[in-house]
């Protein structure tokens, strides 16, 4: 068996080990590679930055713990930015499996920023129906969420003073890991009720949302852990996403090297077998 053949039939556990080490070592010994801010992430940041104090900011946390590593840092960075700008933060989720996590997330960041529940922020929880909830909120927010996550009537929350439906929302960001998520918020929310909107999503979903970004249907997009790291850099509070960027770069290099090596071995093997065929 030639070297190329042996390499192409290598035990896949060796590749797992290489990828594992490429991820683990930079996490233990960070290098601090520079992070370049992309225009799509800056779009969300600049818009929040331009909002006047006490503007209504709606954050829909449309993911569950399965997507936590990518979207949780995005949510933390967005909430920190919104609280720092003294916006009225209304959080909610369209994913029933993410309700507890979303509550923990909002409560944790609000506590860290010294914000008061009901006055500075509220968590509405989950309501069934997916896209129907968005349409319902567009008509009457109190009908979609008669009570918040803790069971208090939403009409009694001071943060919602003057907010009747989605038309009263100044800016909205959906952090989506699938459906319902960013697309549903655009189709049944922004396109119908005309409010400004940005998006955040997992890396897998990002290429599918770029057409919405380019056409101006959403004004910014935070894609995956990389997007979260850019946002953390923009607000100047580096967290888990920035810490993971060295590992991300190292694994990408490892995968590129593996892809190149596989192709080299494959073509060399094909060339050898073709030469043998001609001789035979």
């Amino acid at each position: 068996m030639s070297f190329a053949e042996r390499m192409l039939k290598i035990d896949r556990r060796i590749i797992f080990l290489v990828i594992g080490l490429c991820t683990l070592l930079p996490l233990l010994y960070p290098v601090g590679l520079p992070i370049k801010i992309s225009s799509e992430v800056r779009g969300v940041y600049d818009h929040i930055e331009s909002l006047p104090e006490r503007s209504v900011f709606l954050l829909s946390i449309d993911f569950d713990p399965a997507s936590k590593p990518e979207l949780y840092p995005q949510a933390i960075a967005l909430l920190r930015h919104a609280f720092r700008k003294n916006l009225r933060v209304i959080a909610m989720t369209l994913w029933v499996s993410g309700t507890g996590m979303a509550d923990q997330l909002v409560t944790q960041v609000a506590k860290e920023m010294g914000k008061e529940y009901g006055k500075d922020y509220a968590f509405l929880g989950w309501s069934p129906g997916g896209q129907a909830v968005i349409i319902n909120m567009g008509q009457n927010l109190y009908s979609a969420f008669p009570s918040d996550y803790s069971g208090k009537p939403t009409k009694d929350l001071p943060i919602l003073d003057g907010v009747r439906n989605l038309k009263d929302v100044t800016y909205m960001v959906s952090l989506g890991a699938g459906r319902p998520g960013v697309e549903e918020w655009y189709v049944f929310g922004k396109d119908k009720y005309k409010f400004e909107m940005g998006g955040g999503c997992t890396g897998v979903m990002a290429p599918g949302l770029y057409p919405l970004l380019r056409s101006g249907q959403i004004n910014g997009l935070i894609g995956g852990l990389r997007g979260a790291a850019e946002y953390e850099s923009l607000i100047g509070q580096k967290g888990k996403a920035v810490a993971g960027m060295d590992a991300q770069s190292a694994t990408h290099v490892a995968i590129i090297v593996l892809v190149i090596m596989c192709n080299v071995f494959y073509f060399s093997l094909r060339r050898t077998s073709q030469a043998q065929g001609q001789v035979g």
Binding site: S127, D191, G223
Partner: protein, 249 residues
């Protein structure tokens, strides 16, 4: 034991059990997999019951007398007639309501958002070539709004659409356009794969970050102890699974 510390031990243990699949399929992985499915479904059932049945149906009817809510409840209950063969036909009314409402809501909005708006955006940038100062053409590849990029996108959209147009034979010029469409599709798949790799690595980074955090003494070093325990269990399992050598004679 503090809830955070207990949570750290459970999270670490389940992460390591799932990771044990990288070595090979084994009962530890199966245990963690079944726990994940069971806990997820249990959580969803409890949350749905509490939010929908208790807070959105029972409380408004009992406390505020919102009797009109009985109409959607009745339509929803029709779904359950699927379990009674003689009354199963009644569930069709509920399905008809859902399909009709879903289609009515989705079709116009989807056409508006994903077809009309995207067509408009594909063609509109070309109009900027003929501006108030006469004809201009920007060549900057890095600017998404440049005329060159607008042309590339228009050509890409047209060639990919042509590739999926099977009513005429792809030969001569048509073949060249269809081939170009394939190239655009390949670039799109490549971008998608790249982002997928990034996403999967992010998940790995997330778990490893937690494992590093939980190796701290304040949690009782669950990462170290449970890694040793998992490795030990895997050794025992693989020894037990080893087939007996055939007896001679």
């Amino acid at each position: 034991m503090d809830a955070t510390v207990l949570g750290a031990w459970v999270a670490t243990g389940l992460t390591l059990l799932i990771f044990s699949f990288l070595y090979k399929d084994n009962p530890l992985f199966k245990l963690a997999e079944h726990l994940y499915v069971g806990v997820s479904v249990g959580y969803i059932i409890v949350k749905t019951y509490d939010t929908v049945i208790v807070h959105l149906v029972v409380k408004p009817i009992m406390d505020n007398g919102e009797i009109a809510l009985l109409i959607p409840v009745a339509i929803g209950m029709l779904m359950l007639t699927r379990y009674v063969p003689k009354a199963a036909w009644m569930s069709r009314y509920a399905f008809a309501f859902i399909v009709g409402m879903g289609a009515g809501l989705a079709i116009p909005r989807t056409i508006s958002s994903f077809i009309l708006k995207q067509i408009e955006d594909t063609v509109r940038p070309l109009l900027s070539i003929a501006g108030p100062d006469g004809l201009t053409f920007s060549m900057n590849l890095l600017n998404p709004a440049s005329n060159l990029n607008a042309l590339i996108i228009l050509f890409g959209v047209s060639s990919v659409l042509f590739y999926f147009f099977f009513s005429i034979e792809h030969s001569g010029t048509g073949r060249a356009v269809a081939r170009t469409g394939i190239i655009f599709l390949m670039i799109s798949f490549g971008a998608g794969f790249g982002y997928t790799v990034m996403a999967r690595m992010s998940l790995l980074i997330g778990r490893l970050t937690d494992l590093i955090e939980f190796s701290d003494a304040s949690y009782g070093r669950p990462t170290i102890w449970l890694t040793l325990l998992t490795i030990g269990a895997l050794i025992v399992i693989s020894r037990r699974a080893r087939p007996e050598p055939p007896q001679e004679g």
